[in-house]
């Protein structure tokens, strides 16, 4: 949604990233202006929505109240659950109390105090790990559940299973019994289970071992890339990463692709970031506001 650093620019809004699944929109951070970016991106405000907040700096949270207000004005009734570090509840309570605010739907706020899996959904889970910033800051991994293996119609036919409802039952993991009494098991006609997709969002962070661990094997790592090498000291001091830092994390974590994110307003031209990162890790892209990426399911 927005890919800039703490100060917005003509080209980059404040940080927010969304994962859209078949049924849900999952926001990671919600900087000022996110609701407008959601409108521009065409995501709208789906019935199923969750928000994961990395840390309590204004550029990552100041868009939440407006988003909640807009959905209330649109008469939303479905709940929104939010996860974030300590302080999230106090912040939202105080805004609701001090701005004339009517919430038309329930909000759930879970403050995250420990690393680990935060929620178990039917199709995915989100896992948190500590990043390394100037204040307590979480990194998040969206991890799709393992999916059933590929179905091989020729194997089913060879075993005498007629096309139709029996195929569906095998596909969904059931054993079936044929009219002649034989049992056919899913693994007889399907390949091995396939892993789900994994997308990791670093939040604001120095290069961090726990982010490397969290991001291990991810299809996409979206990582803090505030500065280039000239400002490496500033990055350390302020709790951020350079392009090279991000690339090293991506390389260590063996991710498939790295998206450079949280880019300081000073880089109108990002070619220096690309140059420094790609010298270390080849498969990179520079995130841009409203960019949509399709992450294919692994075979």
């Amino acid at each position: 949604m927005g890919t800039g650093g703490a100060v917005p620019s003509v080209r980059r809004g404040l940080p927010s990233m969304a994962i859209r699944t078949d049924s849900e929109l999952i926001l990671f951070d919600c900087g000022e202006g996110t609701q407008r970016q959601m409108i521009l991106a065409g995501t709208g405000f789906p019935k199923q929505m969750k928000i994961f907040v990395t840390h309590m700096h204004g550029d990552h949270v100041l868009g939440i109240p407006g988003l909640l207000q807009t959905m209330s004005l649109l008469d939303r009734t479905e709940p929104v659950n939010m996860f974030g570090p300590a302080g999230l509840r106090r912040y939202l309570d105080s805004v609701v109390a001090t701005v004339n605010f009517h919430l038309s739907f329930p909000i759930g706020i879970s403050e995250v105090h420990e690393e680990g899996v935060l929620n178990h959904e039917r199709n995915y889970q989100v896992e948190a790990a500590w990043a390394d910033h100037s204040v307590p800051c979480l990194a998040y991994a969206f991890i799709e559940r393992q999916r059933p293996g590929r179905f091989f119609p020729d194997r089913a036919e060879r075993m005498g299973v007629p096309e139709g409802p029996l195929w569906s039952r095998l596909r969904s993991g059931e054993e079936i019994r044929l009219p002649d009494g034989r049992i056919v098991r899913p693994q007889d006609v399907m390949g091995p289970p396939r892993r789900g997709r994994k997308i990791v969002y670093s939040g604001d962070t120095r290069p961090s071992r726990s982010v490397v661990k969290l991001a291990n094997g991810a299809d996409l790592l979206i990582h803090d890339c505030s500065f280039n090498q000239d400002l490496a000291d500033k990055a350390r001091d302020d709790g951020h990463s350079t392009a090279a830092d991000a690339a090293i994390v991506a390389k260590k974590a063996k991710v498939k692709q790295l998206a450079l994110f949280h880019i300081s307003a000073r880089y109108e031209d990002t070619s220096i970031l690309v140059k420094e990162a790609s010298a270390i890790f080849p498969n990179i892209l520079v995130a841009s506001d409203l960019l949509q990426l399709d992450i294919p399911s692994p075979d």
Copy 2:
């Protein structure tokens, strides 16, 4: 900056309007996203800045914290004074306390409890009046001070005043004594004082007598125009104006020009608003995000 109603749209951001004088930027309302609009509009964050808030609904105030944070990150040291209804101080105090927030400059918050002139600057004053909304809501008039009359060089020459420093002294309102002992007064060589410009911002409001009074003779009235006539009942219920309401206020107040503002997201095509308003008051325009208007000084 933003010209929409409470819910933003692809074309319209949340409400905010700015007056740029020679030396200062004066914001009226500061909806979410205003800081980004300021960057897009090229106003930047001038050393002299004030913010006037009409009321404490989220769409009019949720942009303030991010603006303050950005200016702090840019190491601003000059103070920002804010004016608004009761509750403004509590809101800002609570955001500063609950978001990790470092203010690099002093902020002054004046809660407005009565109609009247709020501040006397060298070149202008701002006057507040109660609008008529669902919560306490102020309308504001920016009123430039009377300026010296036009200077007529031919009159000065006829009276034997040589071009140079004596002209400047006359222009700035001083009497001068010529070498031959004659006194020349400013009014001998200048026309009558000229009135300053007057710009009035209604805030969210039903048609209101006190806004009519405040707007009397304004060069520009920026008025709530949430709906067209089909939603007149909704406008009354929610504390807003229709296009016709806004036009009637403009006509009664004998303003020079009316800008339709705070336009509901449902009007992608605003021609119905123009049609209904211009049937009553001819000199209208539909405000659009980032529109810049030059208000000429009256002769």
